[in-house]
């Protein structure tokens, strides 16, 4: 029966994440963006929210009941309200951990999952995006060829979060090039493996506080066991779709903050004798921003709900992610426009959201629900 009401557990998650975002993340957002550094303390506090370990069952040393897309998108929205870079940094382990939890072999689970259930934040990276203008997850150019009891990986990646800081990188490569999504597999590659070279930290327009790296693979050899799901491999489209839900949820949270900021500014800023929000041009912009933020959230919720229900949700996740990317740019652009000259100044947060927003069209992987 249709309902839009959060469960008590979800309300709890929402409140905890929301106050953490407001008390710790947002106040540090600007400095983190300018310095490119996220204060240790915020991450360790954020880790205490237990979002990762909270999904991992006890048998793997976690304290949760497994993956729950809806709970996670609710959490992600709140965290991105606080700061996108910090949220993506804090949740960098999700792609590897959740992929293993969802589709890893028992051995992979036992070896890897406990690492992400500790007291301490444990980064993990993933390498999906490639440095081509027309990169497409269905046409990945990095290849993993089987050679005896090894896979040999060749290719180039970019936007791999925390690659240098991590022990492992989940690398997506084509085992059957030309087969589209079905031809892609994921490999757990330890940092330092011969043939895998992590380049200099990337400089991006936005998410400046998030450390991302390019990675090149030259005849990088990994054992068969490194393949997610072992012999059977894994369902890449499903993993991709889970990451799209995560990215869309982040876009909703960040955009919601931009909307709220614009709303408050339009209410308080006086020009020509009245608050600028009392003029239809500004007021209608804000109304449309509000409508699109809510619309995107509902698209995300519905796709996540389908995911949790075990229904096919790949199409819904793609629609939601693409819709979210457009929405975020529209909202980010208007949040600057509404502040006029003040929006162009780095004293104010909107230009940061404007830069971050454009990233969602390009981001794939990087975080997962």
């Amino acid at each position: 029966m249709v309902s839009f009401e959060l469960s008590d557990e979800q309300k709890m998650i929402q409140e905890t994440c929301s106050s953490f975002a407001a008390d710790h993340m947002y106040p540090a957002m600007r400095d983190a963006d300018e310095s490119g550094e996220i204060p240790e303390e915020i991450i360790s506090r954020g880790w205490e929210l237990g979002l990762v370990g909270g999904c991992i069952p006890e048998e793997y040393e976690g304290f949760g009941e497994g993956l729950n897309a809806l709970n996670m998108v609710i959490a992600l929205e709140e965290l991105a309200w606080g700061d996108l870079s910090m949220a993506m940094h804090l949740l960098s382990p999700t792609v590897l951990a959740f992929s293993v939890l969802d589709q890893g072999t028992e051995e992979q689970k036992k070896n890897l999952l406990p690492r992400y259930c500790g007291e301490e934040f444990k980064p993990a990276s993933c390498a999906l995006v490639e440095p081509y203008y027309d990169f497409c997850p269905s046409a990945i150019r990095t290849v993993a060829e089987r050679d005896g009891d090894e896979f040999v990986i060749n290719g180039g990646k970019c936007l791999a979060p925390l690659a240098k800081e991590s022990d492992h990188v989940l690398v997506f490569a084509a085992t059957n090039p030309g087969m589209g999504f079905a031809g892609v597999d994921a490999f757990v590659v330890p940092v330092g493996t011969k043939g895998m070279e992590i380049g200099e930290r990337e400089k991006n327009m936005g998410v400046k506080a998030l450390a991302t790296y390019p990675i090149t693979f030259k005849d990088c050899r990994v054992p068969l066991a490194a393949r997610l799901g072992g012999e059977n491999g894994s369902d890449f489209l499903r993993l991709l779709s889970r990451s799209r839900l995560a990215l869309a949820a982040l876009a909703v949270g960040m955009s919601r903050h931009a909307l709220e900021h614009s709303r408050d500014y339009a209410r308080e800023r006086v020009a020509f004798g009245e608050p600028i929000g009392s003029r239809q041009a500004i007021a209608f912009m804000i109304a449309e921003m509000a409508i699109e933020v809510d619309a995107t959230r509902l698209l995300v919720w519905e796709a996540a709900w389908r995911c949790d229900k075990g229904m096919d949700f790949a199409k819904e996740a793609a629609l939601a992610k693409n819709y979210a990317a457009d929405m975020a740019m529209m909202v980010g652009d208007r949040s600057v426009q509404i502040m006029g000259g003040h929006g162009y100044i780095r004293d104010n947060p909107v230009e940061l959201w404007f830069r971050n927003a454009r990233g969602f069209a390009t981001f794939e992987g990087m975080v997962m629900v």
Binding site: M1, V2, S3, F4, E5, L6, S7, Q10, L70, D134, F135, C136, P137, S138, A139, F181, L237, L240, S241, R263, A266, R267, P275, G277, S278, Q280, A283, F284, I286, A287, E288, A290, I291, D294, A295, T296, L298, L299, W301, E302, W305, R306, K309, A314, K315, A318, L319, A320, N322, Y323
Partner: protein, 418 residues
């Protein structure tokens, strides 16, 4: 607990209505577009017989459902689905055809007004007829030539003379006015002022029965679309109605409290998401047409690839689907709130604004994408583009919806944000 699964009851209705829309409505859609002002009487009788004005979920509830409702409190705990059911049903029926669906018999907005502000006696007197053997229509008359969206500026007057109210004025854009007053033993709810100086506070709804002397249909409009539904102008010249045909109290309360008006607005809060559902039905029809055309040609849509690597056609379809789904979810949220006794005026306006704009865009784009097939009256696509435009206009234009949305979000009054 967040859930997007329709209850078995609603699912069943949905399927039934869809079959009906596909088999009984869609096939005659073009005929009633080409033959404006003709009416599908056989269909009306069937609708009336089998749905007992159930479709009227669109505009308030039928006599039957009305009774059912009396039992439960308005804000009862156990979840109700009346409005969700209405939204789902309407999407299906409007998928069949908007013009015909709008012309269906039932209490309509007039009935909804009686429902919202009538006494039990009035409800019995005015609504019971909808459970009779013959199709009957109820209508609502608010707009005036000089008013438009500006409903507070109503000039039609109602003066108490002994036991009767005497109405004078002119109304336009009365949906199903002819059906209610000439084609059936129906009524029209007329909004008139009992005190011009009192502004909104002076505006009251009055029920005027078919065939009341002094009331005359002066014009039947020729329209861009939804041609099966009649839109009329009505003039009132010393039109006398019984004293107790006023809905709600005749008192002009202080000018800030505008009780009569609030009721009208309450009616709109309930119907706005349903108008959104109408739009969504038409938009879905257009999208289905494109997808079937492509299917026949063996063209598949590659969801999930990089949108910039898609063809224009693929990306447009993806955006149409997302827009349509977004509009539907916003609409479901608005009716769900209503079913659960939550204030939904903001969400109702958001849903209607989104649906109206999304669907006019979708149908216009669809006609473009289908080229000569889109522009030709051999297919229904061009009709859907014409029909859907009304959704961005009636029951408050898209601009009015944005205005209401903005006021609520900014916390501004009507005076602070004009």
């Amino acid at each position: 607990m967040i859930d997007f699964e329709l209850s078995p009851r609603i699912k069943a209705t949905k399927n039934m209505i869809h079959m009906f829309a596909e088999q009984a409505v869609r096939p005659i859609a073009r005929y009633y577009d080409e033959h404006e002002h003709e009416k599908p009487w056989d269909l009306f009788k069937m609708v009336h017989k089998f749905m007992g004005g159930g479709m009227a979920g669109a505009f308030g509830t039928s006599g039957k459902e009305e009774k059912a409702e009396k039992e439960g409190e308005p804000k009862e705990k156990k979840p109700r689905e009346t409005n969700l059911a209405g939204a789902v049903t309407i999407e299906e029926i409007f998928w069949g055809d908007a013009g015909i669906a709008l012309s269906f018999p039932g209490p309509g907005l007039g009935g909804a007004a009686v429902q919202a502000s009538g006494t039990p006696e009035q409800k019995e007197r005015f609504l019971s007829r909808f459970s009779g053997d013959e199709p009957v229509w109820g209508a609502m008359a608010i707009t005036e030539p000089e008013a438009g969206s500006d409903t507070a500026n109503i000039k039609t007057t109602a003066v108490l003379d002994g036991d009767e109210w005497v109405l004078n004025g002119e109304k336009i854009f009365v949906t199903s006015g002819k059906s209610a007053l000439e084609d059936s033993k129906g009524f029209v709810v007329v909004w008139a002022t009992v005190d011009r100086k009192a502004g909104r506070a002076g505006i009251k709804p009055f029920v005027v029965e078919h065939g009341t002397p002094g009331m005359q249909i002066t014009k039947i409009e020729d329209k861009l679309g939804i041609r099966c539904s009649d839109t009329v102008s009505i003039s009132f010249m010393d039109c006398r109605i019984p004293k107790d045909n006023i809905l709600g109290s005749p008192e002009v309360v202080d000018k800030t409290k505008t009780e009569g008006f609030k009721k009208a607005m309450a009616t709109f809060d309930a119907t706005r998401p349903l108008v959104a559902a109408m739009a969504i039905g038409v938009g879905r029809a257009a999208l289905d047409f494109i997808k079937e055309t492509l299917k026949e040609k063996g063209v598949e849509i590659r969801y999930g690839i990089n949108p910039n690597r898609m063809t224009v056609l693929e990306r447009e379809i993806m955006q149409m689907e997302a827009d349509l789904k977004a509009a539907r979810l916003l609409t479901w949220r608005a009716v769900w709130m209503l079913d659960n006794g939550l204030r939904n005026d903001l969400q109702a306006s958001m849903a209607k604004a989104k649906a109206g704009m999304a669907v006019t865009r979708i149908t216009q784009k669809a006609v473009e994408l289908m080229g000569p097939l889109g522009y030709s009256r051999e297919y229904l696509l061009e009709k859907w583009m014409r029909d859907s435009k009304i959704n961005d206009i009636f029951e408050g234009t898209g601009q009015i919806q944005l205005l209401v949305t903005a006021r609520r979000i900014l916390g501004f009054t009507r005076e602070q944000l004009k």
